[in-house]
């Protein structure tokens, strides 16, 4: 930059104070590489096209579900309704198909409903900020319960809803799905497009910058006429829509609607955000970081499965991973290193 007015003492000005955040990216990459090497050595067939495909497929679902969580974390909120909206969408969608809606319309309806519930969640948790966490959890519970009541009314399926899933949806989310003839599940391509657009949008749009502004200092943002309420509502709406979308896509993956399908995402969406290095206190981080966190989590899970560990052991290890991660990034620099 040519904006240095007085000669600065050191000319290596590129080394910035955002080191803290950059460091978390470096650590994330390092961790990913270490996990891949460990997998290559310990698990036969870990480095293979087949495994890469399955990792990317699972990462795509988690990645889409974590987008809203990242946005929420950037303003210092947490959306705990994500797993319930995923579950609700997962059973609502097939029941809409059973009711006779065309599949494309059902997808749109479910996503819009997700956005509406999300914005309601945003409005409520904004009004009751001290209780935002439990509020989002409550909204999630209420919605999943309501959808369960609705779906079991017309059918005898109860918790699991069966419906003929359209072939295109199966192709999008299936392990052996193809995109333009290539052996890549289309959901991975969708995710990559979302990643590119989101990262670009966070840095180059007024909405993206407003999220960082509100997360950094709500009073300063208010003085600039940035409405904290609008930002808060919008990101929760996006989170709701993305959860619903993930719920629909997961149906193509599993083949049958199951209300508990979202449950793992309560922990993993937050974990992906934290492992990526986005501060839960707001203002620092981004979706690129979360993508890294998603990949680390998915590769690790795949490695643990490959090692033959059962689910409780996997859970324990992933849980333990969070502690050093939080210790490494979530700390603000010590007062001695601040001006």
């Amino acid at each position: 930059m040519t904006t240095t007015v007085t000669a600065s003492p050191s000319t290596s000005t590129a080394r910035s104070n955002n080191l803290q955040f950059q460091r978390s990216i470096v650590i994330g990459f390092g961790l990913l590489v270490v996990l891949l090497i460990a997998g290559a050595i310990l698990v036969p067939g870990f480095i293979s096209l087949r495994n890469a495909r399955s990792i990317l497929l699972l990462a795509a679902f988690l990645g889409l579900a974590s987008l809203g969580q990242t946005f929420c974390a950037l303003v210092g909120a947490l959306d705990l309704s994500i797993p319930y909206l995923i579950g609700a969408a997962n059973i609502l969608f097939p029941s809409l198909l059973v009711a006779g809606l065309p599949a494309w319309l059902a997808v749109i309806v479910v996503i819009i409903l997700g956005a509406v519930v999300g914005s309601a969640n945003g409005i409520l948790s904004f009004r009751l900020q001290g209780q935002a966490l439990i509020m989002s959890l409550g909204v999630g519970f209420a919605i999943v319960g309501a959808v369960q009541i609705y779906t079991s009314l017309g059918t005898q399926f109860g918790g699991t809803v069966f419906a003929p899933i359209p072939a295109w949806l199966r192709n999008i989310s299936a392990f052996n799905g193809t995109f333009l003839g290539l052996p890549i599940p289309p959901v991975v391509v969708i995710w990559l497009a979302v990643v590119g657009f989101t990262i670009w949008g966070l840095h180059n749009t007024w909405f993206g910058r407003s999220i960082y502004a509100v997360g950094g200092s709500r009073t300063a943002a208010a003085r600039l006429g940035i409405s904290e309420f609008s930002v808060w509502t919008a990101i929760h709406a996006i989170s709701g829509a993305m959860s619903a979308f993930a719920g629909v896509l997961l149906l193509g993956f599993s083949g049958g609607g199951f209300v508990g399908v979202g449950d793992p995402y309560l922990f993993t969406t937050v974990a992906a955000v934290v492992i990526g290095g986005t501060s839960l206190l707001g203002g620092v981080g981004g979706y690129g970081a979360t993508v890294l966190g998603v990949l680390v989590l998915t590769v690790l899970t795949s490695l643990l499965v490959g090692l033959g560990l059962d689910f409780p052991a996997q859970q324990a290890i992933i849980g333990l991973l969070i502690i050093p991660m939080v210790a490494i990034y979530a700390r603000s620099p010590h007062i001695r290193n601040q001006i």
Binding site: V5, T6, S16, N18, T205, R209, G216, G225, I335, I339
Partner: protein, 519 residues
């Protein structure tokens, strides 16, 4: 009592990343003296105070307090050093008494009885605040000035051998400052060392026995009592290339031609219970706003910028084409119509601490540089950023560094740059020079005057009367919630403003201040 050296810093250096806050610092203070540390913002004063109190450790050199090395604030407490920091650090939910004695006890036992404490605290606090205080009151309900006193009293109650005041009088008015000085005298008489970090030159001329001057992280000189004059201090503080006599007084007023009114506030009720008043702002003018704490001047500024709605009345601004007056109903109206607001409380309502210097300025002008779908057009932003950084001579490293890597004064320059970047027509500044050095002030006065000369208008609130002299075209003094007196250019002088602040005539106040000085 023989004087002995209590504080000694030798060749102390301290860096924060690339910023070298202290380069070479030599300092010495004795028992029974009041020693001032003076310098512009970013010269390293606060860093020096923090090193003495053990909050920071030096990278190089040696810091000895009472012949001991201090590594943590706990060490400092043990050997009898107390520091009053710039920030007003109180627990809002606790009582006054608990706030005064916080940290005095060990985890399991109390050192002194509550009754004894209450007696001691009562005497001191009554003396400082100037009226009887209720020690059981919850601190959160008390005004800022009383909170400031609590922080000061807390340090004094420790009976410190060394007391450091880091800009602690910033929130105090004149009368209160005099009471603080009496207390400092008392401490000096008992043989304590009092170190005052300040940029209020008038204050230290009155009270300091010696003064050490810092410039760019280097101690450049020490003045004895008789040498401490405004001229000497300024000469040491300002680098040679900037030692121009372009202080506020020479920024000069614009010619008094016929002026169009750009902004008008009618029947304003800024504060609950205040009388309605009118306010006009002419193109090309700088209007100063003064008042004692809580007399409605702050609320008035916020109401004009529509950060808060007033209790009554409305604000109109002349439209761009100059023909009609448009009503200002909301913050967004104000922004659209060219009113910008700069707060002196940059930590709370100015900066985005985790964002870069560039982002902190650019965030204010994104809205003006939006393409379709809210996409930001970045090309213009860089030019504007460079222009503002240049205009205010911001001292910084890379524009991508966090804003917190800058000194307070330079942070404020970025925020004022943010306001200028909007090409406003009316700039409202709420005590922008609080905690800002002389160089920054000069740059600010110069640019505001240039802005007014281009046809802009400025409302400038300050808690330091000196700021208005030779700078403002008019000073509106608030008392009891509304404008008590409006002083024209030729009437602007310290005594007149002071008198109006107290709701009195000038003659009375002259008597009042001379009486206090005799004390």
């Amino acid at each position: 009592m023989p004087k002995q050296v209590t504080v000694r810093l030798t060749e102390v250096a301290k860096s924060f990343g690339e910023t070298r806050a202290l380069k070479k610092c030599n300092f010495e203070a004795c028992s029974g003296e009041v020693h001032a540390i003076v310098g512009e913002n970013g010269s390293g004063k606060s860093t020096m105070a923090k090193i003495m109190s053990g909050v920071l450790n030096a990278d190089a050199g040696e810091a000895l307090i009472l012949n001991e090395r201090i590594l943590t604030p706990l060490d400092a407490k043990r050997i009898g050093l107390a520091t009053i920091f710039q920030e007003v650090l109180v627990a809002d939910e606790a009582s006054v008494l608990d706030n005064l004695y916080v940290g005095c006890d060990s985890f399991f036992s109390m050192r002194t009885s509550t009754e004894e404490r209450a007696r001691e605290a009562q005497a001191l606090l009554d003396r400082l605040v100037g009226h009887p205080m209720d020690l059981k009151a919850t601190v959160g309900d008390l005004p800022l000035s009383v909170k400031q006193w609590i922080v000061i009293a807390r340090a004094i109650l420790r009976r410190p051998k060394v007391l450091i005041l880091d800009e602690s009088s910033a929130a105090l008015d004149l009368d209160a400052t005099l009471r603080l000085h009496e207390e400092i005298d008392r401490l000096r008489a008992t043989g304590s060392t009092v170190i005052i970090v300040t940029h209020r030159i008038a204050e230290l001329v009155r009270i300091a026995d010696r003064a050490t001057v810092l410039r760019d992280g280097v101690t450049v000189g020490q003045l004895q009592k008789h040498e401490i004059t405004e001229a000497n201090l300024l000469a040491l503080m300002t680098p040679a290339d900037r030692r121009l006599s372009e202080a506020a007084n020479t920024s000069g007023r614009a010619s008094q031609g016929d002026r169009t009114i750009v902004l008008k506030a009618s029947d304003m009720i800024a504060q609950r219970g205040g009388a309605p008043f009118n306010f006009t702002l002419e193109a090309g003018s700088i209007v100063g706003v003064a008042g004692l704490d809580g007399q409605g001047q702050d609320a008035f500024l916020r109401a004009v910028a529509r950060i808060l709605a007033p209790f009554g009345g409305d604000v109109h601004i002349r439209s761009e084409d100059g023909n009609e007056m448009a009503a200002v109903h909301s913050l967004l109206d104000a922004a659209r119509l060219g009113i910008v607001y700069v707060s002196g409380d940059r930590k709370r309502e100015g900066i985005f601490p985790q964002q870069s210097i560039f982002e902190n300025l650019a965030i204010g002008i994104y809205r003006r540089n939006l393409g379709p779908c809210g996409v930001i057009r970045k090309s213009e932003l860089r030019k504007t950023f460079a222009r503002e950084v240049d205009r205010f001579r911001v001292k910084m490293g890379s524009s991508q560094n966090r804003i917190t890597s800058l000194s307070g004064g330079n942070q404020q320059k970025i925020l004022i740059g943010r306001a200028f970047a909007n090409d406003p027509r009316v700039i409202i500044l709420n005590d922008p020079a609080r905690g800002v050095d002389l160089g920054t002030k000069r740059d600010l006065y110069r640019e505001l005057r240039a802005f007014a000369d281009r046809g802009g208008a400025v409302i400038y609130l300050s808690s330091e009367i000196e700021e208005f002299l030779g700078f403002a075209d008019r000073v509106d003094v608030f008392h009891g919630g509304s404008v008590f007196r409006s002083l024209r250019a030729h009437e602007i002088e310290e005594e007149a403003i002071l008198a109006a602040m107290f709701g009195q005539s000038k003659a009375e106040i002259v008597e009042f201040t001379t009486e206090r000085k005799v004390h």
